[in-house]
Structure formats: C-alpha cells, structure tokens
Amino acid sequence: MAETAQMAESGPMEISDEVAIQIDKMNKWFGTFHVLRDIDLTVYRGERIVICGPSGSGKSTLIRCINALEEHQAGRIEVDGTLLSSDLKNIDKIRSEVGMVFQHFNLFPHLTILENCTLAPIWVRKTPKREAEETAMHFLEKVKIPDQANKYPGQLSGGQQQRVAIARSLCMRPRIMLFDEPTSALDPEMIKEVLDTMIELAQEGMTMLCVTHEMGFAQAVANRVIFMDQGQIVEQNEPKAFFNNPQNERTKLFLSQILGH
C-alpha cells in the first residue's frame, strides 16, 4: 500500500466548507430491533470517509439510509440540501445525485456493459443516446475496460464487474458516491484494481462514503475514519490518530483483531 499512499498524497484533495450530507439524530429499527441509534454525522464536500466496524454494527444500513434504500424512522437526513422524506420526488432527486456501488456489483445481466452504463442517463437524465454512449465510454476508459463495452457482465471477472459498476454510477455524474463493501466479494488479486479506481476517484475530489475492511485504503485516502458498533458511532478521527491511538475499548479490540494477523 506504500505506493498507493504516495499516489494519494500527490493528488489535490481539498475539503470545502460546503455540507454534502447532514444527518441529525437518525434512528432506524428493523421490526423491534434498534439498528441505528441517534446517528449524527456531517459530511463536507470532498470528504473521503471510511466506515468500519464489526458485522451487524449497522454500517451498511447507515449508508443505505442516505439514498433511501432503507427507510429511517426518526431524525432527519439532508443530502445536497434536499430533505429525505417519504416524498418520491425528493427520493428520486437524491438517488440521481448519489451514486452507489454494491458488494455484489448488481450489474444488469441482460444488458451489455455499455447498456448498463447508458441506461440511467438515457431514462432518468433524458440524455440523447449518442451522448450517453460517449460519456459511458469515457468512464469505461477511466476504469480501464473500454474494450469490454459490448460484452455481458457474466463474461467479466469480479474485479472488472465492480469497476463497471463504478463506471455505471459515475455516468450519472453523481456528486456523492457511496460504497457498500465494494471489495468484500472479490478475490485478493482483484481487490487492488478496484481500490486503485477508488483512489483515483478520491483524488479528483469526489465526496465518498465507504464501508470497507480495507484498512490500507483507509490509511491511504480517507480523511476521516468512523468506527461503528451496535448501531452507534463509537469513535471517529483522522486515520493516523484512529489507527495509532484509538480511544475507545471496543475500537482497540476491533483494530487488534483485524490488524493482528
């Protein structure tokens, strides 16, 4: 990870004072199970936040609440100045501004790579087909797989599929990107190609929230690391301080377990 860290330092990664996401006292239940408890979080434009924590701690649920894939029951979430309510128009607006990458890629298997990338721009943004295809090719080049454009997802490796998924999100020109364990379903040798793509994105100033267990990635590009446990934000800090000097007992235990081997 040394070389990626160096790469990361060279890029311009400025954080503005503009608020991208504002979460106040957000609570969520699955049935009677209290998954998220009093979440307060402010994300500024250009921030790269890594969220980690043991499984079942609510980290995926938290970022899925931001684009309303999960409904929250109390508190408020404001994305790009739009209040997330049950109003479908607001939800659609937020979803088209926020890109999301899933653990299992979720590409559309019945469409080619190019069609996967142009579908949403054509139907949601009403972009002309030609223009949408040009944009798609631009982003496919960026994730370094333009030559696979006419193949189907099933013909690509896991790492390639995940890079397509990133390109597909980027084609909507989102202002915020959410990553839900993007490398957890990948073979070890494919993790790097996906992380490199994400690092490049971070260097361009994309606002990113990333649930991941890749601590190297967190050290290289994150400006803030959040540790969650039992539905609460337990600790957040700059990566250096977070990894070298964790304060909370649970954070210490977690870090010793994942960095110990």
Partner: protein, 432 residues
C-alpha cells in the same frame, strides 16, 4: 534422475507421423450404435425390445394409413371398396375439410376472409416473436386485431375503425396527462377511449350501409379450427399483459391493489375452466342489463383470458421472486422510477426466467379452447362430435377424425414449444 539411460532417452524425430483415421469400430455409425444402443447388455435388450415395439406399431398402422381412401363420399362406400381389408377412410377429411376448418355455418363464399386473416397473422406476429425484425413492422401488428376482426366478422368498416380510433385517442390523451401523474393519465385515457367508442357506436348504427363491403357473419356461425385459433390467439395475447399486471399487483405495496389481485388469482385458479365457460354461456346473461346482447365469443374470450392470466401471473411471480434483491436496489440507486425499473430491468429478466412456464400455460390454454364444444360451440372437436359424426355418411369414423384433430393441435403446440426454446437460447446472456 541420475541413473537415466542416456542412450535410450536421447531421441530426435526425423519424420512426422501422418494423421490416421481411427479404427473402424471407433468411428461413424458403428461407434454411435455401440455408444448409444448397445453399450451394456441391458441396453442392448431394451434396444431390441424397442425395435420390436416399433415394428409392431408399424405393422398395425402403416397398412391402415397407406391403404387409406381419400375420395369416397361416405363410410359405407369406403367399406365396400376395402372389402374387409385394413385401411383408413380419410375421405371424411377431404369431404368435410372446409367444415372442419371453418365450421358448418360460415358462408363458403367468404372462406378466403379468415384464410387471409390467418396468413396476415404470421406477418403481424413476426415482429413480436422475432425482435431482430425492423420495429416499424409493429405498426401492422397494432392494426392487425382490427383488420382481422373486420375480415372474419365483416360488417360495416366503421365498427373496427371506431375501435381503433378509440384506442389511439385514449393513448394520445394518456400520453398528455401521464407526465403529471400515472393514475390521472390512465383515467383520462380510458375516459377518452370510452367516449370515442360510444359516439362511434351511435355513428356506426346511423351510417350502417345496406350493403357493406364485407357482408357480416354472425358469431354463432364461427366454428371449426378457425374458432380454436381465434380463441387461442386472442386469449394468449391478452392474458400475457394482464398476467404481468396481476403479478406486479400482487407484489404491490398498496394493500387494495394487492388484495384485488390476490383474490382474483386465487378465485380463478380455484375454479375449473369448464365452470367458467358455463358461467359465460348462461349465468353472465343474468348480470347484464336486459336487452343487451353480449356476443358469446367475447364472453368466452373474457373467461378463458381470466383463467389463463391468473396462471400466467403465478408463473411470472415465480420469475420475479427468482431475481436477486440487488437488481431492484441497483435500479433504485440509479434513480429509475417504478415503471422504468420494472420495464427495463426487472421484467426482462423475470419474463426470461418464466418463459418455460408461460409457454406451458399458453399451450395448455390453446388445447383448452376445445372445451367450448361442451357449451355447444362448434370448434374443431365440436364439429367432429356434432355435425360430422352425427351425419349418416360418416357415422363411425372416429380414428381418422380425432387423429386429424390431434395432428392439427400438435403442429401448433410443437411450433410454440420450438419457438420458446429458440427464444431461451437467443436471450441467454448469463454465460453460466
């Protein structure tokens, strides 16, 4: 490897060995037979038994078919000519050919009309079945139902024209209002279509010409295989979209829609089709305002369509359930709204999974159209059981007639099955 015998190991090839064919027992039909027919003594025994069975069948059936008579005018004449030898009396097919195809009351001067409609059916269905064909052909597909109705039933041209204009007007109004709200657009479209139909209905009656271009044929005069084809084509093409709506409705978050769909599906699936047909024939008339003469064929079409769409809905629900949740989430996260996500992502995949089930229902439905013979409609089976077998000339010609009916249905159903297999191969993109 220290004790390698250098003199025996060192080797340089100077001439290449030419490729030779495999030994005769390892190629061609002999190998095929050894592999497939006589691989073990049990398989050999079964092969011999099967050959004997096929031989017995051929000995029984072949003289019957080859000795068949095609040109007599009655069964007794057949018997006279055959003089006790085995031989089929296919003459019933040649003599009653038109009746078997068109029914016994359809005016023979107009046989060309359903014939033409049948040929045009292939042109209309082609762009739907084979989506590599130019999309402009769909225009003809859209016009076809009205054209076919006019050809088969005849009567004033204004009637199908009104129906067509009503659909077009409804669509235009829907397209105008749907931008605000889907429900509003749908309601406005339906209202517009109904208004056009009512106005057009009065106009048609007022302006009805004394001698229309194509003289009218009544529904009760329809019969033969034509009736099976009409019912089969109309009901399959209506029940698929209705089935999709029911399947989506059953998954809806809106309780009223979900309950309506569940009740409809469960009720229809719990009732035998024959009961529904009797309802269509007799009971439905009690619920209609007195004086309305609701065409029997339309009543039957409604019942068969309701029946098939309930089954198709359940088949498609299986396809929807087989899709991973991630597909819905990916569509949502890209900002697609519900109709877009369904049309572009969910349904193409769910329908592909459901193809075998849908085809199963469609083939079953097509064969079930023969059930209308019990409510005294003279479809192919109704014609055979009724007018043909009851006639003095052909009383007793069972094998020939029912084999013919079986053959006709087999050709259509096998065609549907082959098409669906082609479609599945064509749509395979998962490369598993």
């Amino acid at each position: 490897m220290s004790d390698t015998h250098a003199q025996s190991v060192a080797f340089v090839r100077e001439t290449a060995i030419p490729a030779a064919p495999p030994p005769s027992r390892e190629r061609g039909p002999i190998k095929w037979m050894r592999d497939n027919l006589f691989s073990t003594w049990l398989n050999a025994l079964l092969t011999l038994a099967a050959i004997y069975l096929v031989y017995q069948l051929a000995v029984f059936a072949l003289p019957w078919i080859l000795n068949g008579l095609w040109t007599t005018s009655s069964l007794s004449e057949c018997r006279d000519i055959l003089q006790g030898e085995t031989g089929a009396c296919f003459a019933v097919l040649t003599e009653r050919w038109n009746q078997l195809l068109f029914g016994f009351k359809y005016p023979s001067a107009f046989y060309w009309r359903p014939g033409l409609a049948f040929i045009l059916l292939f042109i209309a269905a082609a762009p739907v079945l084979f989506f590599d064909l130019p999309r402009k052909m769909l225009l003809f597909t859209g016009l076809y139902p009205f054209l076919a109705y006019w050809l088969i039933w005849g009567g004033p041209l204004l009637a199908p024209l009104t129906a067509l204009i009503g659909v077009v007007a409804g669509y235009l109004v829907y397209a105008r209002f749907v931008k605000d709200n889907f429900a509003k657009g749908l309601a406005a479209g339906v209202v517009a279509a109904v208004v056009v139909w009512i106005a057009g209905g009065y106009l048609t009656e007022l302006l009805a010409p004394n001698r229309p271009i194509l003289p009218a044929v009544q529904s009760r005069d329809m019969g033969g295989f034509m009736l099976n084809l009409i019912l089969g084509t109309v009901c399959v093409s209506l029940s698929l979209p209705i089935g999709i709506c029911l399947a989506l409705g059953r998954q809806s978050n809106m309780p009223i829609i979900r309950i309506i769909c569940v009740v409809f599906i469960e009720f229809i699936r719990g009732v035998p089709l024959i009961t529904l047909l009797f309802v269509a024939n007799v009971v439905l008339a009690y619920f209609l305002p007195p004086g309305t003469n609701f065409d029997l064929i339309i009543r039957v079409i409604i019942m068969i369509t309701a029946f098939a769409s309930a089954y198709i809905a359940e088949v498609i629900r299986g396809g929807l359930a087989a899709l991973p949740k991630g597909q819905y989430e990916a569509g949502d996260s890209l900002g697609l709204d519900y109709p877009q996500a369904m049309r572009l992502i969910i349904l193409p995949q769910a329908l592909k999974i459901s193809i075998p089930g849908i085809v199963n229902v469609a083939v079953g439905l097509f064969k079930d159209t023969t059930l209308v013979s019990v409510i005294s409609m003279f479809d192919l089976v109704g014609m055979i059981r009724g007018p043909v077998l009851a006639s003095t000339e052909w009383n007793g010609v069972y094998w020939e007639l029912f084999s013919f009916a079986a053959l006709l249905f087999f050709v259509v159903c096998y065609g549907i099955s082959q098409y669906s297999q082609w479609l599945e191969r064509r749509l395979a993109t998962d490369h598993r």
